[in-house]
Each structure stands twice: as C-alpha cells, then as structure tokens.
C-alpha cells in the first residue's frame, strides 16, 4: 500500500494528501494524536512537490508514538510530567525515517509511559477504536494503531514492551510488528522497560511493515544492545510451502474468547493450505510469564522514571522549599495513578531484602521462558497463536481492575521476555471487532516471519475491510 502511495505522491501532490489527513484528524473523534507537526509537515510536503526526493519512504507521512523523541516536536509519553518537553534531538528511528524521505506528521497518544493496554492511562484521555468508538484501541501504542486503522495516517511507529504494538494492531485490525530485541536502535525511545522493548511499525499491510522495518532496523553505535539488520523486503513475496508451524498448547483454552480461538484455528488451516504443516507444542513456563514480566518491567521503570524530578523538564509546582519536597511534589502531581503504582511496585521489588525474592527470581523465570522458545523453535519454524485473548473491550470496562488488565497481555509478554520477533495481523472478526493472529519467529528471523504473514494476508480478505468511522 505504501508503495502505491509513493507512486501517487510522486505524480500527485503530497501537500494535498497531507492536508486531507490533517483535516480528517482535526474532525476525528479518535483522539489519536497528542501533537501535530502540521506546519513543518506541510512545508516539507510543498518542498517535495516542487522537487521530489528519492528514498524508500519518499514523501510518505508517518505518525510517531509520543514516547519516541522528535527534535522540535513536544514529546510527552502522554504524561503531564513531561508536558512542554521538546527534545533537542531525534531518536535513531526518526533520523532513519527522515533519511529515507518520510514526513513526520505528529505524535500519537499512548498509555502514560507505555504503561497500559488501552491508552486509558494517557493524561490526554483515551484514544478510541475506529471500529467502535466506545471501545479502546488497545495499548500502549493505541494512538498509532487508531490513526492507521482510522485512515488518519498511512503508517505509524509504536513501541512494544509487553505487547504495546501487537495489542493495538490486533484490536484495530492492522499489522503490528515487534522486532527481535536489538534489531532496532532504542536511542531516543523514552524507556519504560529497557530490556524488553523495541520500536515497531504499525501498518495496513505486511509489505508495508517489511518496508518500515527495512528503514528503521540496523546497528546504531549509540545503543549498545543494537545489532545488524537483515533483508526484509526482497523475499517477502516468496512462498511458504514446507514451513513448519507450532501451535503452543498454553495459548489456547481457558480465558480465550471462542470467536478468537475459532479465527486463529481458521488461520492455521489457511496456512496449511498454503503449504505449511503444524503440530502442537508446549511452552511450559508460560504461566509464570506475566508475573516475571511485571516485576522486571516495573523494576526497570521505577529507575527509568526517577529522572522526572521537575529539575530540568516537567512541571514545577508552586514554591520550592528543599529538593526532597520539590521532587516529591512534582512527581506526585505529574504522574498518573497507574504509573505511580508501577513505580511503587518496582521500587519495592528492587529493595534490599526483596531483590532476591522478586527481581532475581523474575530473571530466572525469564531465562526459562527464553529456553522454552529456543527449544520449541528448534523443531518448528514459527509459532502461531492469538495476539490477544479477546477483542477490544469497552472504555472503562477494565481500567479499575489492574489485574484483569494485566491478564490481557498473557500471549504477548512472553515474546518480550524471550526477545524473539512476533507480528500481529488481522485474521477475522468477532462481530464488528477485528481479531489478531500472532506469528512468533526465531531471533533475527523477521524475514521468515514477514513472508509467512504476507502469504496469509495474500490469501485472506481481512486486511481489506475498513472501519466506517468518520
């Protein structure tokens, strides 16, 4: 789809296209964007129209999750503690997008500091699901998913710490990719849980996902955990006959919506028809994944978020006495409820006397989960599962019950713990609500993952359906 758009923009007008998008956004009920970079984007589009440049994303507008640093554009992580913060530098992925000719449209809504599954923890209020505006778009990259699904942006970037790209992709009926840990530089991504998260594309098609990954991946000396990239576009249309699929027993059954389960099994049949074989496999440590994930993520978060003390950015409140009091006041007023909960729990988990009981234990579980995936993926090429156990829920339905909200991440967090890549793509509907299929691959085998996803997409109509949102 982006390839077609690129052709159209080169012959037509990038400015007119952008104006349409901005008009749509300004009239929209989705609340997908926190900030628009309207003037700069239109200016750039006019330049492009006068003398078009080359590049893999020449002239393509893109929406960016508000947790990714953009030079000159306010970047808040949807937290009032960061209101007014304008980064003096671009994240690595933004540099790459610009180098390939893309135009940054603005910043999309998210759960505060990416802590959530619904965007309901955003200080700007929740984004809405284009398929049903009373429902959540998923999270934490909900604004990016809603914008792409709602036709407000042709593509977007999100970040995935425990499912934050795949969950909203699933709820909004689009494609979301979480790359292998280390494939995309995190330089400029405001950390929630460093050891788990990756920046990933949210797109309307698998090929678009491959195109964006081609652009944003690769080694960056500023991120010590970053690795070399592979080739994602060239083989994406190849066939998948002979592909061996594993269906993890633990990802089906109790707690999974029957419509979701049915769609995923239908998808497995489609893949079989395309030449793949499947067998049941087991990831025995899955039941410990959520606990381990939340301990690690909250521990890291409690440290990452310590810098928001109001000294250099964020909001100062009233008069200062001593720095203890000022820091406490700034942080009490600036962080939302869920963020505070996670900072407190993380602080607790790292405290003397508890470190061994919680953090170290969580790291041990993480190793076991990683081994689950490595062992299983030695015998099969990909794993297949639902992305989310259920379709998009109603706004307000779960927000007061954090545990039930955490449970929603049950099929996405093990992937982050293991560091393997996974993609969510549309595989059906439960009523009017999209259902996401999750494919999980081996470390750095995004090429195979994308090829299988693209074959499935080619054989099915789900990605073509559009929400009727204004």
């Amino acid at each position: 789809m982006l390839t077609g758009l690129k052709r159209d923009l080169a012959s037509g007008s990038a400015e007119e296209y952008l104006e349409c998008l901005f008009e749509r956004i300004e009239k929209s009920k989705l609340n997908a964007f926190n900030a628009l970079s309207k003037e700069a984007a239109l200016e750039k589009a006019r330049k492009f129209d006068r003398s078009p440049w080359g590049g893999l994303l020449a002239g393509i507008p893109i929406a960016i999750k508000d947790g990714i640093s953009t030079k000159g554009i306010e970047t808040t992580c949807s937290s009032s503690i960061l209101r007014g913060y304008v980064p003096p530098y671009d994240a690595h992925v933004i540099e790459r997008l610009k180098a390939e000719g893309a135009i940054i449209m603005g910043k999309t809504n998210m759960d505060e500091f990416a802590m959530g599954t619904s965007t309901e923890t955003s200080c700007f209020g929740p984004s809405r699901n284009p398929w049903d505006v009373d429902r959540v778009p998923g999270g934490s990259s909900g604004g990016s998913a809603a914008a792409v699904a709602g036709g407000e942006a042709p593509c977007a970037l999100g970040s995935d710490t425990g499912g934050s790209v795949r969950c909203p992709a699933s709820f909004c009926g689009i494609v979301g990719l979480k790359p292998t840990y280390g494939l995309v530089s995190r330089y400029g991504l405001i950390s929630y849980a460093n050891s788990l998260e990756q920046i990933g594309p949210l797109t309307r098609s698998v090929e678009d996902s491959a195109l964006l990954l081609e652009v944003i991946s690769g080694h960056d000396p500023r991120d010590s955990t970053s690795a070399e990239k592979g080739q994602y576009l060239s083989g994406v249309r190849d066939e998948i006959s002979g592909l061996r699929l594993g269906v993890p027993r633990e990802y089906f059954g109790e707690g999974v919506d029957p419509a979701v389960e049915k769609s995923v099994w239908d998808a497995i049949s489609v893949l079989e028809e395309l030449g793949a074989s499947w067998r049941e496999v087991s990831l025995p440590h899955t039941k410990y994944a959520l606990a381990a994930y939340y301990i690690i993520a909250m521990s890291e978060a409690s440290s990452n978020l310590a810098r928001f003390d109001g000294l250099r950015y964020g909001r100062r409140t009233g008069e200062d006495r001593d720095w203890h009091t000022t820091f406490s006041k700034v942080r009490s007023a600036g962080f939302g409820k869920e963020t505070k909960r996670r900072i407190l729990l993380g602080t607790y988990a790292l405290s003397a006397g508890y470190y061994g009981r919680y953090y170290l234990k969580a790291l041990q579980v993480r190793t076991l989960i990683k081994q689950d995936f490595e062992r299983t993926l030695a015998d099969v090429d990909l794993l297949v599962s639902p992305t989310m156990p259920f379709p998009a829920f109603r706004i307000g339905e779960r927000i007061d019950d954090p545990l039930s909200l955490y449970m929603a991440d049950v099929f996405t967090v093990p992937i982050n713990l293991a560091g393997v890549p996974a993609i969510s793509l549309p595989c059906g509907f439960a009523g009017h609500l999209p259902i996401g299929l999750q494919l999980i691959g081996r470390h750095f085998e995004e090429d195979l993952l994308l090829r299988a996803a693209r074959s499935f997409e080619e054989a099915t109509p789900h990605h073509l359906r559009m929400p009727e949102v204004a």
């Binding site: 950390s191 500023r222 991120d223 010590s224 440290s303 000294l311 720095w323 790292l350 405290s351």
Partner: protein, 474 residues
Amino acid sequence: MAADNDVIVGLEVHVQLNRLKSKMFCGCSTAYHDSPPNSHTCPVCLGLPGSLPVLNRRAVESGIKVGLALNCRIEENTLFYRKNYYYPDLPKGFQISQYDFPLATKGQVLIKGEDGERKIRITRAHLEEDPGRLVHAGTIDKAKYTMVDYNRCGMPLLEVVTEPDMRSPKEARIFLDKLKSILDYLDVFDGALEGAMRVDANISLKGGDRAEVKNISSFKGVEKALSYEITRQRNMRRRGMGVIQETRHYDELRGITVSIRSKEQAHDYRYFPEPDLVPLRVADLVPAIRASLPELPDARRDRFREEYGVADDHAKSLTSEIKVADFFESVASRAPPKLAAAWIADVLKGELNYRDAGIDRFSPDDMVEILRLLSEGRISDAAAVSVIREILDHGGSPAQVVEALGLAKAGDDVVLQAVRFAVSDCVEAVSDYRKGNERALNFIVGQVMKRTKGRADPGEAHRLVVEEIERSQG
C-alpha cells in the same frame, strides 16, 4: 603522633580519569575545567529521556591498568549496575556504577607506615560516572538557591576502596600520596585539576561504631578530618557516650566534621544490572595491558638506588612524580648522578614548590649545564642556586645568567690578591685572631667576599686567609 593501635581507618578514593578524551558513557570532551557551565553536555550525560549510555572502552583499560598496578585480580567479566538515589546533581536519578563483578578486586599496596612497613589491602576498584556539580549561592546550609553544572556529569571515575588497614591519619596520608604517585605513573589522571581525587574516609576506634567523612578534596583535609574525628570519638568515649554510625561532612574552613542530616543518608540504593549496557569480557584485555605497564614508583626508587647509587631519601623524592623521575634520568645520563640527585631533590624541587611550579618549568639541559659548571669549579654552590632561581624567575640559559650576574668564580690570583689586601687592611681583626678570637676571621673572610663580589668560594677564602695570616706572621 605515632600509630595508635585502636584507630581504624579505611578509605574510598574517587579518582577522575581526566586524562581520557571523552566521558564515561558519551562522546563529550573531558576538558571542561576552563569552560562555561553546561557547555560540555549532550543528551546522554544530561540524562535526557531516551538517551542511552555507551561504554568508553578506554576507561575500562585505564581501570584495568590501575587495578593491575594495585596488585588486584581483574574479573573475567565485568558488569555495570544502577545505583538508584535522588539528588539534584544526578540527572537520571541513578548513577551507573559497579556492584557485583567490579573491574578489580583483592589488591594490596605496601606503604612505609609509622611503625615500619604496612600492607594496605585494596578491597576493590570499580568504574562509575561522576555526578554534576552543585553551585550554592552562599553556604550549603544558608543558600537561597543552587545552580547545577553538568559539565562534570558523566566524567569517568575510578573508585578505589581499601580495607580498614590504616592506623593513623598520617598513614592515610602516606597511602594517598602513594596512590597518587602510582596513578601519576600510569598517566590516567592529572592530579592538579580541581576535583581530580576525592576521598571518603571511614574511621572508628576499636570496639566503636564508625563515622564516614564524605567528599574530602585534599589529602591535608583527610589528615585533619581524621585527627578531628579521633579527638571527637575519644571524647565521646570518655564521656561515656557511644559514637553513632553516621555520615559526616568535613568543613574545610573550620577544620571540623559535622553530621549530615540523617534524611539524606537513609539509602537503599536498589542496585540492579544496567539493562542498557551489555556485560563486558575484560579477561582478554589483561595480558596486553599488563605488558604495557610502566615501571612503578617503588621499582624505580629501588633502581635509582642501585643503578645510580643515589641515597634512598633522594630516590624517594625523585620517584614520587614520574616527570621528576624522567627529568632526573635525563640529567643523570649526562652528569654525575649523585650530584644530580642532590641538586634536583634538595634544591630544584624546593625552588619549584616555592613557586608552585612543575618540573616542566625547567629544562634538563640547563640542569646538566649548571652541574657541569659546578663540577668544573666555575661557579660556587651559592651561585648555582642563584642561577636556578634566576632561570625560573626571568628565564635565560645558565651561561647567560652566570655572565649577566657576574657569578663566575673569580680566578685564584684574584682571590689571593683580595686575601692579601684584606689581611693587610684588617690589622685589628688579624691581631684579634692571633689572640685566639676565631670569630675575627669571619670579618676578614667577609672582606674577601666583598672585594670579589661574592665570586670567591667562602670555604676556599677561609683557608687562604688562615694561610696568609700564618705566612705574614713568619
């Protein structure tokens, strides 16, 4: 004060690796000392959201160098941790430091303690980043506001921790001098720069709780703070009160230590491995670094004694700074070594200290020339000192200075003539001397010096005057 058996001192020394070109985790230059505040910063050392640290490999190499020089074991793999605490000079709300698997462990340094040789065990040496610097408007307790300068933030620091093996403030000082000398030889830091070495000192009396005096910036300060603490802790004990385990601040101006409010010391640092850095295998770096280690002060001191026959106190004085040792060897290869040792250690170093100058203010060639003039008897000792002073204060070569100030030793006949004149002139003094008043001789010698404008050698003049008086008598 001799070493007291009941005094127990351990040190934590923070060494800024300021010879490195860039900071610990970013590319910012370390040469900030003469720059305006906050001019040596970037997203990484400012801790801006989204920035990530990248380890400066050279800092690791420097750390290994120091570890080896302190006879430490270097770990196979080393790991960085986050030390979490809030402070206004700490932009991330945590400091990247080391915890388990520090770079170097279990070393030792021998010092000449107050009761002979003492072994100071090194617990560990680890790398960390320096915080920023707070500039208070006024004193720390009365400041209306405080400014933060992040230039220092992210400077590579090596923390050297000792076991509580020192028995007096003096021994702490001796250890610190020795450590500084070793660091100087390794070329990892410039001790002259502000904040290059900061010391936390732990002190207790046997059986009592210990106090930690934090952030002392001079060695003299360490000695004074520890002496003050010993007195304070003894008095507490005498009054039947226990010493509280606490952190204290050394007030340099008043020469006392004061308790820091307990709110700031109740720390649980919540260490956990820094997820943005990967474990680093250092074992492979060790052989090459070990092979490249320079000769260290102790070895060089021994060699100076053996190779040049230099007295031990001279050898010690010449080897405490590597530049002085190099200077000596450059001179000693072209001049009598013992003479060179005495003149450099006793005279030149003193003159330099007096002027607060380093050895690079003086050229070895000039020293060689001065020693040549001395050995050839062309200038007196006093004249040589004048030459050194003149060169330091106004420049010029030894030959020029000798010429310009007329410092060349007068020829024998000139001196002899002056002696004859003096003896025949000072009739009264000569007669006093003959009556047994030895001191009268000084007056006559003084006259000789006056006539020769000080170019005569006083000893020589003395001998000639006695001879002349005896000759004129007979």
